[in-house]
C-alpha cells in the first residue's frame, strides 16, 4: 500500500509539474503572439500588396493540389485557385488514384483534354497514368497517377512544376483571393533568405461558399466544429506565431504552404509514406539548411487564409487527431538527433524538445495524471480541497488561454463579424475545457499507440464538401 501511495504521489507530482510548465509556456507564447500579431497587423497597412500584384518582379508560383477521392470539393477548390490575385502562376492538380468521381468532375468543370506532360524524375513517385490540360484555363494541369499517398502526389507535382516556388494546398481548401500574394510577401522581401512560408488554416464549415470564394464567414452549426474553430485560433495565432518569431517553426500546414522548389528537391522532397508529411518536410528543411550552415528563414504569416472543412462527427475527428499525432511522432523519431542538440540552435534546444515532451509525450502524462490525481485524493495522499482547487485552476487556465486567443483574433483579423457567433465562440472557449480537450488527449494517446504498432495509412475521412456537394473523403493537413 505504501508503495502504491508513493507511486501515486510521484505521478501526481509529475502531473502537477507538467501542468505548471506547459501552461507557463502557453502563457509566454500568448504574450509573444499578442506582440507579433499586433506588429503584423500594423505592417499590413504599409505592406504594398497591390504593388506586388502588379509587379513583374514577383516570382511565379506552381500551386500543387494533391487529391484523393475529393469529388465533393475539388471543383470549388480549383475555382478558388483560378481566381487568385497573383501575377503569374500555374495549378497542378495531382489525382492520386482516386476511386470516386474526382477526375470526372474536373474534366466536366474545366473542359480537360488529354495532353502529354513532361515530368522531371528528380523525386520518387508512383506511375503517372495520364495528364490533362484545360481548354479554358491554360494555366491548369491535371495529372492522373496511381495511388501512392499524399507525399507521393506532392512529389509528382513538384516534378511537374515549372516555377521556382511551389505552394502545396489541400484539395478541400479554399484560398482567399490575396492569400498567395500575402504568403509570398516574405519571399518578395528576402528572396535569398526565405526557404518556406505558411499561412493560417481556418474552418469553413458554416461559411457561405460561392464560386470558389468564402463570401460570408459564419460559425458552423455543429458544436464539435465550433470547438475546433477556437482550437485552431490557439494553434495558429498563438502557437505558430510564437515559434515563427523564434525562428523555430516546425509545422507549416499541409493545407497551405509555400516552398522554394530547388531546396525541397535538394532535401529529397516529401518523405514517402509519411502521414505527417508537412512537419517532416519542415524539419528536414531545417536540418538540411542548418547542417550546411546556411542562413535562412521559415516563416508563418498569420493573415493569408486557407479555408478547410473540419470533421463534424467524432469518428472522423478521432481518426484525424490520431493521424496527426502519429505523423508528429514519426517525424520527430525520424529527426531525433535534432532533439536537445545545441548544434541546431533554438530548434534543437527548445522547439523539438517542446514538441517531444509536451506535444508528443504530453498526452500520456495528462492521461495518466488524471486518474493518479483522483486516486491520490481518494487515498488521502492529496487533500480533497487541494484536488478541487487544482482542478478548478486547471480548467480556468484553459479557459483563459482560449478566451485570450479569441481576443487576439478579435483585435487582429476579426473574421467572424456576427455577434451571435462571438457569443458562441466564448461559450466554446469555456466548454472545450470540460470534456473536449480530454477527449482529444485520449485520441492523441491512441495516435501514439498507432505509431508504436507501426500502423500505416490515413483512414477514411467523411466530407460533405464546401460547395454543397454530397459525400467525399480525402487526406488533409493539420
Amino acid at each position: 500500500m505504501t508503495t502504491l501511495r508513493t507511486a501515486l504521489e510521484i505521478l501526481a507530482l509529475v502531473a502537477f509539474g507538467y501542468f505548471a510548465v506547459l501552461n507557463t509556456i502557453y502563457l509566454v507564447f500568448t504574450g509573444l503572439a499578442w506582440r507579433a500579431v499586433r506588429r503584423y497587423r500594423l505592417a499590413r497597412s504599409y505592406s504594398a500588396v497591390d504593388e506586388a500584384f502588379a509587379s513583374p518582379l514577383t516570382p511565379p508560383v506552381s500551386v500543387l493540389l494533391p487529391a484523393f477521392n475529393e469529388e465533393a470539393g475539388i471543383v470549388e477548390s480549383v475555382r478558388s485557385l483560378l481566381g487568385l490575385r497573383y501575377p503569374e502562376f500555374e495549378i497542378i492538380v495531382v489525382n492520386d488514384g482516386s476511386v470516386d468521381g474526382t477526375l470526372t468532375r474536373l474534366a466536366e468543370a474545366f473542359e480537360l483534354v488529354p495532353a502529354r506532360k513532361a515530368i522531371r524524375a528528380s523525386l520518387p513517385c508512383a506511375r503517372v497514368r495520364a495528364a490533362y490540360a484545360s481548354r479554358r484555363h491554360p494555366e491548369l494541369w491535371v495529372i492522373d497517377k496511381e495511388n501512392g499517398g499524399k507525399s507521393d502526389a506532392l512529389n509528382c507535382g513538384i516534378d511537374a512544376a515549372r516555377y521556382p516556388y511551389f505552394c502545396a494546398v489541400d484539395a478541400d481548401a479554399i484560398l482567399e483571393e490575396d492569400a498567395l500574394l500575402r504568403v509570398a510577401k516574405p519571399i518578395l522581401d528576402d528572396p535569398g533568405l526565405v526557404a518556406a512560408t505558411g499561412g493560417i488554416v481556418r474552418i469553413a464549415n458554416g461559411c457561405r461558399v460561392d464560386h470558389g470564394r468564402v463570401t460570408n464567414v459564419r460559425l458552423p452549426r455543429s458544436k464539435l466544429a465550433v470547438l475546433q474553430v477556437v482550437e485552431y485560433f490557439r494553434a495558429f495565432l498563438v502557437g505558430r506565431v510564437g515559434w515563427s518569431g523564434m525562428r523555430s517553426l516546425l509545422i507549416i500546414s499541409g493545407a497551405f504552404g509555400l516552398f522554394r522548389r530547388n531546396l525541397v528537391e535538394a532535401a529529397g522532397g516529401y518523405a514517402q509514406g509519411a502521414v505527417g508529411e508537412d512537419v517532416e518536410l519542415v524539419l528536414r528543411l531545417h536540418r538540411y539548411l542548418r547542417e550546411r550552415g546556411e542562413e535562412y528563414r521559415i516563416e508563418f504569416v498569420p493573415d493569408p487564409v486557407a479555408w478547410t472543412e473540419a470533421p463534424e462527427d467524432f469518428a472522423t475527428l478521432s481518426r484525424q487527431r490520431r493521424r496527426w499525432q502519429r505523423g508528429l511522432g514519426e517525424a520527430l523519431w525520424r529527426h531525433r538527433r535534432v532533439a536537445f542538440n545545441p548544434r541546431y540552435g533554438l530548434l534543437g534546444t527548445l522547439a523539438v524538445p517542446y514538441f517531444l515532451l509536451f506535444e508528443l509525450v504530453g498526452p500520456i502524462v495528462e492521461l495518466v495524471g488524471y486518474p493518479a490525481v483522483v486516486a491520490s485524493a481518494a487515498l488521502g495522499t492529496l487533500s480533497p480541497a487541494f484536488f478541487v482547487a487544482f482542478f478548478v485552476t486547471a480548467v480556468l487556465v484553459g479557459v483563459f488561454l482560449s478566451v485570450s486567443a479569441l481576443l487576439l483574433e478579435e483585435f487582429s483579423f476579426r473574421r467572424y463579424g456576427d455577434d451571435g457567433d462571438a457569443v458562441r465562440m466564448v461559450l466554446a472557449a469555456i466548454g472545450e475545457n470540460l470534456g473536449y480537450r480530454q477527449l482529444v488527449t485520449f485520441w492523441r494517446v491512441l495516435g501514439i499507440v498507432d505509431m508504436a504498432r507501426r500502423r500505416k495509412g490515413w483512414g477514411a475521412m467523411r466530407r460533405r464538401g464546401l460547395g454543397y456537394a454530397p459525400v467525399g473523403g480525402a487526406s488533409k493537413g493539420r
Partner: protein, 338 residues
C-alpha cells in the same frame, strides 16, 4: 504548491478571463457603431471626394475633423489609381489641410511602424512636398520604413528619386522587389542612372539592373544587354537573355542562339524563352535540338518557344515518338488552346 496559491491563481484567472470577455463585448459594440458611422460617412462623402479629385474644391463649410479623415482616407485610396491633374488635385487637398505636414512629422516618430505608415501614406498623398523627407527616410534605421519610403518615392514620380533609389537598391537597404518596383513606376527616367550599373562589380547588382533595364528600356539598350550575355555570372547572363527577349531585340538573335549552348541550364532556358519572344524563326532548328536533347528546364522552354515561332514544325516533330516529352507537351498544349 499550496491551496492558497491555487485559490489566488484561480481568482486571478477568473478575473483575467472575465476581463477578456468584457473587452471583447465592448469592442464589438464599439466596432458595430463605428463601422456603421464609417459606412454612412463614406456614402455621404463619396461625391465630395470625387469632386475634389476632379479639382472642384467646395468651399462652403470646412469639414469636421472626422469627415476630413474620412475624405483623406478615400482620396488616398483613389490616388493609387490616378495620374496627372487628378493626382495633383488630391495632393493639393492634403497639403492645404496640413495632412502632408502631419505625416512628414510622423517620419520622425520614435515608433518604427508609425514612421513606416507615414512613409506609405505620403506616397498615396502624392505631394511633392514629401519628396525630400522621403529621400531622407531611405536612410531610416528600420527596413520597413525604408521600404515604404521607396515605394512612395516611386509613386511621387520625381526624377530626383532615381539615383537615391538605385543606391538603396544596390546597397540592399530596400528589398529588391520593392526598390525595383519603385524604379519601374518611375519609368524610363530611371534608365540613365541604371545603365552604368550594368557593369557594377557585384553580380547580384548587375543581375537586378539587367532585369530592370529589360523592363524599362527600349531597342537602344539591346547592345548593352547583349554584352551581358558574356558576363562571368550565370544569373546575369540568364537575366540578360530574358531582358533581350522582352525588348524584342532582333539584333541579338545570333548571341541568343549562342547562349543556347551556355554551360548553365537556366541560362539556356532563358535564351530559349527570349528567342521565342523575339520571334526569330531562324532559331527553330536550334530550339528543336535543345527541346529534344537538353535537360528539363531548357528543353521545356525551347519547346514552348517553338510553339510560338513555328507550330507546324513543333507538331511534325512531336509526332516522332523519340522526340522527347517536351515537344509532345508543347504540341498538346498548343492543340488544347485551339
Amino acid at each position: 504548491m499550496s491551496i492558497d496559491a491555487l485559490v489566488w491563481a484561480a481568482l486571478a484567472l477568473t478575473a483575467a478571463g472575465s476581463f477578456c470577455a468584457y473587452v471583447l463585448s465592448v469592442r464589438r459594440l464599439y466596432l458595430l457603431r463605428s463601422d456603421r458611422r464609417h459606412r454612412a460617412g463614406e456614402e455621404r462623402l463619396a461625391t465630395v471626394t470625387a469632386a475634389l479629385a476632379e479639382g472642384d474644391l467646395p468651399r462652403a463649410d470646412e469639414p469636421s475633423e472626422a469627415d476630413l479623415e474620412l475624405v483623406a482616407e478615400l482620396l488616398a485610396r483613389y490616388s493609387r489609381q490616378l495620374t496627372g491633374d487628378a493626382r495633383s488635385n488630391i495632393a493639393g487637398f492634403f497639403e492645404s489641410h496640413g495632412l502632408v505636414g502631419r505625416e512628414v512629422a510622423h517620419l520622425g516618430d520614435r515608433r518604427s511602424w508609425r514612421r513606416a505608415c507615414a512613409a506609405f501614406l505620403l506616397g498615396d498623398m502624392g505631394s511633392p512636398q514629401a519628396l525630400n523627407p522621403l529621400l531622407r527616410a531611405l536612410d531610416d534605421s528600420s527596413r520597413e520604413v525604408r521600404s515604404a519610403a521607396a515605394r512612395s518615392l516611386g509613386l511621387l514620380g520625381s526624377g530626383q528619386a532615381v539615383e537615391p533609389l538605385v543606391h538603396a537598391l544596390v546597397e540592399r537597404r530596400v528589398p529588391r522587389a520593392i526598390g525595383g518596383q519603385a524604379l519601374l513606376t518611375l519609368g524610363s527616367e530611371a534608365l540613365g542612372p541604371l545603365r552604368p550599373l550594368l557593369l557594377h562589380r557585384e553580380p547580384n547588382v548587375r543581375a537586378a539592373v539587367v532585369e530592370l533595364v529589360g523592363l524599362l528600356g527600349d531597342a537602344g539598350d539591346a547592345r548593352l544587354l547583349t554584352s551581358r550575355l558574356r558576363d562571368s555570372a550565370a544569373e546575369v547572363r540568364a537575366k540578360a537573355a530574358r531582358a533581350l527577349g522582352r525588348l524584342g531585340a532582333e539584333e541579338a538573335t545570333i548571341e541568343l542562339r549562342e547562349a543556347l549552348g551556355d554551360r548553365i541550364g537556366f541560362v539556356r532556358a532563358n535564351a530559349a524563352v527570349a528567342l521565342g519572344l523575339v520571334g526569330d524563326r531562324a532559331s527553330a532548328s536550334a530550339l528543336l535540338e535543345v527541346a529534344r536533347s537538353d535537360e528539363f528546364d531548357p528543353a521545356q522552354a525551347a519547346a514552348r518557344a517553338l510553339s510560338r515561332l513555328y507550330p507546324q514544325l513543333l507538331w511534325s516533330a512531336a509526332r516522332d515518338r523519340t522526340s522527347g516529352p517536351h515537344l509532345a507537351e508543347a504540341a498538346d498544349l498548343t492543340a488544347a488552346a485551339r
